[in-house]
Amino acid sequence: MSARPSSSRPLQAQDKLAFLLSLVPYLIDHEDVGVAEAAQHFGVTEEEMRRHVRLIAVSGLPGDSDSYLHNDLFDINWDEFEDNDRIVLTHSVAIDESPRFSARETAALLAGLQYLSALPENADRQALSTLMNKLARGASAPPSPVVVARARVDSALPVLREALVSRHQVEFDYRDAQGASERRTVDPLRLDSDDENWYLRGWDHARSAVRTFRLDRMSEVVATDRPASRGSDEVALSDTLFETSPEDLSVVVEVSESALPLLGDYLPEGTRTRPGRRPGVVEATLRVGHYHGLKRLAARLSGVVVVREPDQARTAVADWARQGLAAYGEQ
């Protein structure tokens, strides 16, 4: 691979430059602003904000005599800064407007917007296309070609979103991977998506615990008029949709090395693999909640993944495929 990494040094310096170039016009517009307020607006710590303001205050243009002269530097009201933690820019040089977005930055936001265009909030296609045009005009070069097809959104999404925002309980029939269906009562906490799949995370009343539900396994979704007992600000949610539990079963699979990404979330980041019996093949230990998910995974990746251990797992997979053949009148 000869592609140069996006930067030969830690990306941090580039990000800091973007921050400095963005901070100057903000400080020009806000003639007198508290460090705390500015830090919050940019999502940085107050100390980071102070450090960058100090750097701006000593920066400027080189003079003819190869040294920097006072008038060619930015300046701030140092008393306000040191005594009252307030930023007052008193002199600025060279730049006064926000920088344009780069081609790649624009592409990232545009592709994100394309994906979000299916959300119920974005039913106003005109408003969205106005926003996308504006973004493209703010780019320094034509956006690089990365596009995302509009997400397929389940009809349950608007109902769940509405209940989440107004903090009401929802009820729905939920069919799990085993095929068992049950009516659930849930306080909606967050709607997650993972490519074309959408998930609800919520407080399951019957189980008194946070659970993750696939929207495409729900039916008869209704918002009730009962207030939710827990809001999203009261329950900590982890960043991973599925968490492993001590009761999970360990399964050893053999998989072509090149097909490892196809295992997706079954192979959490950092999972170690071992060399397999043939070149190009590796073994990995997966943690699964039950064999119902595993047999579907093995049947989807036929010829690519082979379950090695334990024997019960192999039997569950073989039986699943055999029943499938029987449905075609084969054996």
């Binding site: 691979m1 592609a3 580039q14 800091k16 921050f19 400095l20 170039l21 963005s22 750097l55 243009l61 080189p62 920097y68 040089v93 407007e97 920088p99 344009r100 977005f101 780069s102 081609a103 930055e105 990232a108 936001l109 994100g112 994906y115 974005n122 926003l131 504006k134 005009r137 703010g138 320094s140 690089s144 995302v148 097809a149 389940d154 925002v165 095929g179 967050r190 709607l191 997650d192 998506s193 993972d194 490519d195 074309e196 396994r217 999203s232 090149s258 990404p261 997706g264 579907r296 995974l297 093995a298 049947a299 989807r300 024997d311 039997t315 073989a318 699943w320 495929a321 053949l325 084969e330």
Partner: protein, 330 residues
């Protein structure tokens, strides 16, 4: 080294300021001898080779941020690259005055940036948010309730994206769905498209002399970036490829029967393009092998009625699974 006293961001910031302020441009010697972060290390009349390399890298980093750093060659200086001049035209640097965003739009852009949680798209969208914040508009509400995400798991993604931006030919080996051995491909990469949850590369295949679309998940091993440049075709390659993928999806039709009350019924019925009976409907698909993979995963819960070739592919997969899992291990 004494140079460490000036932080990288201070040198880059000073360079941008100097190049925006100059009307006619600065020569490399002027920059290295006078700009903060370089001047401390500049040796008048001496060897400044490492400082010059530093300057080349800094230019790349600044351009990557979307700052239009220009190189100008005065007619009188033609051929003498010591006399190239550098500048940043302010008109091309400044965000146009009419590009402003409402609080609603700002909220939506914040959410669009959150969609990327890995790789270069994540750092770039966060950098774009910094620039957006310089306009001083706050989002109306924190985007509570949604945590949308597009995955970028495929290692081929970053090198392909870099090659697309540089318009250079790439080589990789490709394991076509349904085939056992990978083949070597040499292509002009044009666009990356996420469609039906999968990343695709739209390209011109040099070996086959036609447009080809590849699945990133099927690229085996590393992508080799060559030095061979190509001229991208006119028009919006990404939009054209997306339209192609939509058309292919609409043309692929499979009629299936599902077991009532099964997981397959709940999950597949809502994707039905046409419902023929309570337990019988038509799905669209773009690749017959990938569709066969998905339908095989449902085991006995789904039976493919037609087309016959798809039915055969599913049966073939199930047979293979039985063969691979019969008997005890080892």
């Amino acid at each position: 080294m004494p140079s460490e006293a000036v932080p990288v961001e201070e040198r880059l910031f000073s360079l941008v300021l100097a190049l925006v302020a100059t009307e006619h441009g600065l020569t490399k010697a002027e920059i290295l001898s006078s700009v903060q972060g370089y001047r401390q290390r500049y040796k008048p009349g001496g060897d400044n080779a490492s400082l010059e390399r530093q300057f080349e890298r800094d230019k790349d980093d600044i351009r990557e941020l979307g700052v239009p750093l220009e190189t100008i060659e005065l007619a009188s200086d033609a051929g003498n690259n010591q006399n190239l001049r550098y500048r940043i035209p302010k008109g091309a640097y400044d965000l146009p005055a009419d590009v402003t965003f409402t609080p609603q739009e700002t909220t939506l852009l914040n959410l669009a940036a959150e969609v990327w949680r890995e790789g270069s798209l994540s750092s770039e969208s966060h950098r774009a948010l910094l620039k957006l914040r310089s306009l001083g508009v706050d989002a109306i509400e924190p985007t509570i309730g949604y945590a949308p995400r597009i995955r970028v798991r495929e290692p081929a993604f970053e090198p392909l994206r870099a090659a697309i931006d540089k318009h250079v030919v790439v080589r990789f080996s490709y394991l076509k769905p349904g085939e056992d051995t990978a083949t070597e491909r040499t292509v002009e990469p044009l666009a990356l498209i996420k469609h039906e949850g999968r990343w695709h590369l739209a390209s011109f295949d040099r070996g086959r002399q036609e447009r080809r679309t590849f699945l990133l998940s099927r690229i085996v091993g590393a992508v080799t970036t060559t030095r061979t440049a190509f001229t991208p075709p006119e028009g919006d390659a990404a939009a054209a490829a997306l339209a192609d993928l939509d058309r292919i999806l609409a043309n692929g039709r499979v009629r299936i029967r599902v077991v009532p009350g099964s997981d397959a019924e709940t999950r597949l019925q809502r994707r039905a393009a046409e419902t023929l009976a309570d337990d019988e409907f038509v799905l669209n698909y773009s690749d017959s092998n990938l569709m066969a993979d998905e339908l095989a995963s449902y085991g006995p819960e789904v039976v493919v009625l037609e087309p016959a070739h798809l039915r055969d592919r599913v049966v073939q997969r199930l047979r293979r699974v039985v063969a691979d899992h019969e008997g005890t291990a080892r």
